[in-house]
Amino acid sequence: MIAKAPRSPRSAARAVACALLAIGSACMTAQPPSPVVAPAPRPALRIRDIALEGDARRRASTQLVVDALDSEMRGDARIAVARYEDALKIDANNPFAALAFARFEVFAGDADRGLAYLDRYEALAGARADSAAHVAGLRGAALARLGKRALALPYLEEASALAPTVWGDQRLDARELR
């Protein structure tokens, strides 16, 4: 019988540490490979809720964004585009014009342009918690439209987790953004 050598306190600490590390590693590997860390749902941005943000110029521009979304809801894409452009003419730095235009381009125009507008929105708005779902969802939808499904999926999952009622169908309608 081989007697076990008495463990030094250091060895004991090491064993405990190993156990902790093992548990930690197991926990880490048990996570899904997706970068999405199941965020908690939160209210998603609606343009009408922020229509009174900013100075008079910003508000006038945002009002045109609302008009553009209304035009889209009526099925008049041409007028909607003109209104989005007008919103940018009044206030080129209105992030909500960039966001709404991004949505339009992603679903009804050019997905690449949608991504460019989305970048612009992020540059202008910074990290707004209420738009995180839209940013992730629009990026995912744009990537999906560009045929990059694997890249798109984590973003769409993130959007769906953040705003399940809005992004559950992987789309953002004009009505939902308005």
């Binding site: 590390l21 008009d67 007008d86 940018l88 080129a92 730095n93 460019a116 992020e122 202008l124």
Partner: protein, 805 residues
């Protein structure tokens, strides 16, 4: 018997022969007349059933958008309303096309207008004014506040044929009855009952002429006048009169009265606008009253009808009295013929004559019109544009265009007077070009291709290629700041070497010089850029490689051929101002390169869209690098060669770069605010030295234009993108500045490229060793600094500790 029989037979044969001869003669005459009539009929049908009118295509400006917060004085709102044909109301009521302005309120009864994407109904609105700005806009009919109000686009110009006739076609159904009544009352009161010739009127005219002993009155009907204008010369020969009568009869036989009236009202000559002839009541309504024909009042209809007799002699622009007397005559005739009531007569006759100011074609906008035509597909040839009556909705902002033309003209005159080297010599005058774009949408807002279109139609903004000089340095620094292979070549805290440089080229060595002919040693990146040091920039170009500089310029929007030579870093390549405007717009819009647009829509006379130029853009540079370059360009305006902008009183976010080519032959300033990019070039067409740098020549003109169009305070901001971090650094070392560091200034870095060392004087914990020395200046790419996520995390360090054990 036989003889008498022969004689009798001869007697009988004479009348028979005469009869035959008569028959033959009349047959021949009839044949000739018939042939003539058939000829005339063919001519009439060819005209009426072919293209009745050649209508020049018209170019319209972008609509003016009014919104709360807008400085209405800056945009000269009252002047704009007047140019659009709005008149200040005097009484209580506010009819369509009128406005009333007080210190606190502007009420406008805006007319309806057509637009492919911004069609608007008539609207009665109230603008609350406060100081210089609009506080709120309220629709007085719905009692609701509205975010923005659109005013109809202004006419920029048209593509005329050689005849220079301008007309706006109107359908008879769109013409107010009082307009047709007025015309018929004074020109042809029995139009709807005669057959093309009015014998009562002819008789009356003949009697009047006999009494006077000369031709004082005409008896022509509207149909005859139309025929004369369409097909015949104005002389009064009998043959011509007979042809006119015959053709009038043919026209009446073949076509409906309303069709004839419509043709007449669109054809009739009604005045002169400079070299352009005003034809038709649609164009006349715009020319004299600045409004569509459907909105004309009775008094205005009567005035236009009265002009037909002698448009230039009776023009209200020439004689208010003659025009008013003629108008009143028409109104009296209408009253006599029971077309109007006594009350209507009294009201119209009492209406003061208020005509629109003549807005001659913007001659300097011709450069823009030419550029627009080159943007259109080949189908839109000069011939087609001069005939097809298209409406082209352009991107031009007429306020900016007017300001640009005026500023360029005034400033060039000032420079010529103040500087001997710039005075006209050998028939050469100083020239300039100014192009303004909206960076986010690529719209050309103003374009002045030269100081005088009449003297030279060569557009220096789109057709001239000139050395860009130091404007190119922005591309060099962009290429150096952009991460390549994981790391940028420089950060904004780096230092550059501005000592003598010798670059071997195929014919010896190239030794760039600074403007002041001195070397400045080791200098911070910002200083090198702001002071436009050539040697430091040339060396940076060598470090990153000219191929990358070239690739960056092309990516940002430069399309001209770029030689692969060391001097490219200093802007030795010839490029157009418009290309540079697009490239700088890419910085202004955060790395998104816009497609340059001169128009939005081309609409045919039936209202169908034929051509559309949507917003198009592409991300070509990451937003962080674009921001860093913008920040460098802001430094030029704050402390560098563009400081004249601030000295001129322009406040707010402005970024830009001066450029002076070899021997000071070209002076440039390319700059932008958050909402407008403006590129300005000054030089001679046959290059010769200006004797001064761009800071003295181009910067003041640029500042003048921007100050005049945006006011003293530029609106907006350059937003800091998420991938850029701001840190306080020690300017001497480029290290992080913490407590104890003697100097500090804020600096921007792409995330992951921030310095990790702290300044030597920091009194805190020891700092990790620097990754790369901040001094001397780096010419090779920096080693990639560790990113936060490259550093070992807690779990990794724990694992290493266990392994060590």
């Amino acid at each position: 018997m036989r003889g008498s029989g022969r004689a009798r037979a001869r007697i009988v044969a004479v009348p028979r022969l005469l009869g035959i001869a008569l028959f033959l003669a009349s047959s021949a005459a009839g044949g000739i007349v018939g042939h003539e009539l058939a000829q005339l009929d063919r001519i009439v049908r060819a005209r009426f059933e072919g293209t009745l009118f050649r209508v020049p295509s018209r170019v319209l400006s972008a609509p003016l958008i009014l919104y709360p917060g807008l400085d209405y004085k800056l945009i000269d709102l009252r002047g704009t309303l007047e140019r659009l044909g709005y008149r200040e109301a005097s009484g209580e009521s506010l009819p369509l096309g009128r406005y009333r302005m007080s210190e606190r309120e502007l009420r406008i009864h805006r007319r309806a207008f057509e637009h492919p994407s911004r069609a608007e109904p008539a609207r009665l609105v109230s603008l609350q004014l406060s100081g210089r700005s609009i506080d709120a806009i309220r629709d007085l009919q719905t009692k609701r506040e509205i975010g923005a109000l659109f005013l109809e686009p202004e006419a920029v110009g048209a593509y005329y044929g050689p005849d220079r006739e301008q007309r706006e076609l109107v359908r008879v159904a769109e013409i107010p009855k009082q307009m047709t009544d007025a015309v018929m009352a004074v020109e042809d009161q029995r139009f709807y009952s005669h057959i093309g010739l009015d014998f009562w009127r002819i008789g009356g005219a003949m009697a009047a002429n006999l009494r006077a002993g000369s031709v004082v009155q005409g008896g022509s009907t509207l149909t005859q006048q139309l025929v004369k204008n369409f097909f015949l010369t104005p002389d009064r020969q009998l043959k011509r009169k007979l042809e006119e009568a015959a053709m009038a009869l043919i026209v009446e036989a073949r076509y409906e009265k309303d069709a004839i009236l419509e043709a007449y009202l669109n054809e009739i000559y009604l005045g002169q606008r400079g070299a352009t002839q005003v034809h038709g009541i649609g164009e006349a309504a715009r020319f004299y009253f600045g409004k569509p024909v459907r909105d004309l009042s009775l008094s205005e209809c009567a005035l236009i009808a009265g002009l037909i007799q002698s448009p230039n002699r009776l023009s209200p622009h020439r004689s208010q009295q003659a025009a008013t007397e003629r108008r009143d005559l028409v109104l009296r005739l209408m009253l006599q013929q029971a077309k109007i009531t006594q009350a209507e007569f009294a009201e119209a006759a009492a209406e003061p004559l208020r005509v629109a100011t003549i807005t001659p074609d913007l001659r300097d906008a011709r450069f823009f019109l030419d550029a627009l035509r080159r943007e259109l597909p080949n189908y839109y040839s000069e011939v087609n544009l001069a005939a097809e009556g298209l409406r082209i909705y352009s991107t031009l902002d007429l306020r900016l265009q007017r300001a640009a033309s005026r500023v360029v003209r005034e400033e060039l005159e000032r420079l010529e007077k103040s500087t001997r080297a710039l005075a006209p010599k050998d028939g050469q005058r100083l020239e300039a070009c100014l192009v303004a774009l909206r960076p986010q949408t690529g719209e050309v807002l103003a374009l002045v291709g030269g100081r005088d279109y009449a003297a030279s139609q060569f557009d220096r903004c789109t057709q001239a290629r000139r050395p860009a000089g130091s404007l190119f340095k922005a591309f060099v620094y962009a290429a150096a700041l952009e991460p390549a292979n994981g790391a940028p070549t420089i950060t904004l805290a780096s230092w550059l070497d501005d000592s003598a440089l010798l670059v071997p080229v195929w014919r010896g060595n190239w030794a760039p010089q600074n403007f002041d002919h001195q070397f400045h040693g080791v200098v911070p990146v910002r200083t090198a850029f702001e002071k436009s040091y050539n040697v430091a920039s040339a060396r940076l170009g060598q470090t990153i490689g000219i191929a990358r500089v070239r690739e960056m310029a092309q990516r940002l929007g430069v399309e001209s051929p770029l030689p692969n030579v060391p001097s490219l870093a200093l802007g030795s390549a010839d490029v157009t101002p418009l290309e540079l405007a697009r490239a700088y717009a890419t910085f202004a819009s955060g790395g998104i390169r816009p497609r340059v647009r001169t128009f939005e829509d081309v609409i045919d006379p039936q209202g169908e869209s034929l051509e559309r130029q949507p917003i198009e853009f592409e991300r070509v540079l990451d937003s962080g690098t674009a921001f860093l370059v913008t920040s460098l360009l802001q430094g030029v305006v704050e402390r560098g060669t563009g400081a004249g902008i601030r000295a001129a009183g322009v406040r707010g976010p402005v970024a830009g770069k001066t450029g002076t080519s070899n021997e000071e032959r070209d002076a440039w300033f390319a700059g932008f605010t958050p909402e407008m990019v403006v590129v300005l070039w000054v030089g001679f067409d046959e290059p010769r030295s200006l004797g001064q740098a761009a800071a003295r020549i181009a910067v003041p003109i640029w500042a003048h234009f921007v100050k005049e169009t945006t006011g003293d305070e530029v609106a907006g901001e350059f937003p800091v993108p998420g991938d850029v971090a701001a840190l306080e650094i020690d300017p001497a070392t480029g290290a992080i500045a913490l407590d104890g560091c003697p100097e500090r200034r804020a600096e921007y870095f792409l995330r992951g490229t921030e310095p990790v060392e702290t300044c030597p004087q920091w009194r805190g914990a020891p700092t990790p060793p620097p990754l790369a020395p901040a001094l001397p200046p780096r010419e090779a790419p920096l080693a990639k600094p560790p990113r936060a996520d490259d550093e070992p995390g807690l779990m990794e360090r724990f694992r290493r500790w266990l392994e060590d054990e």
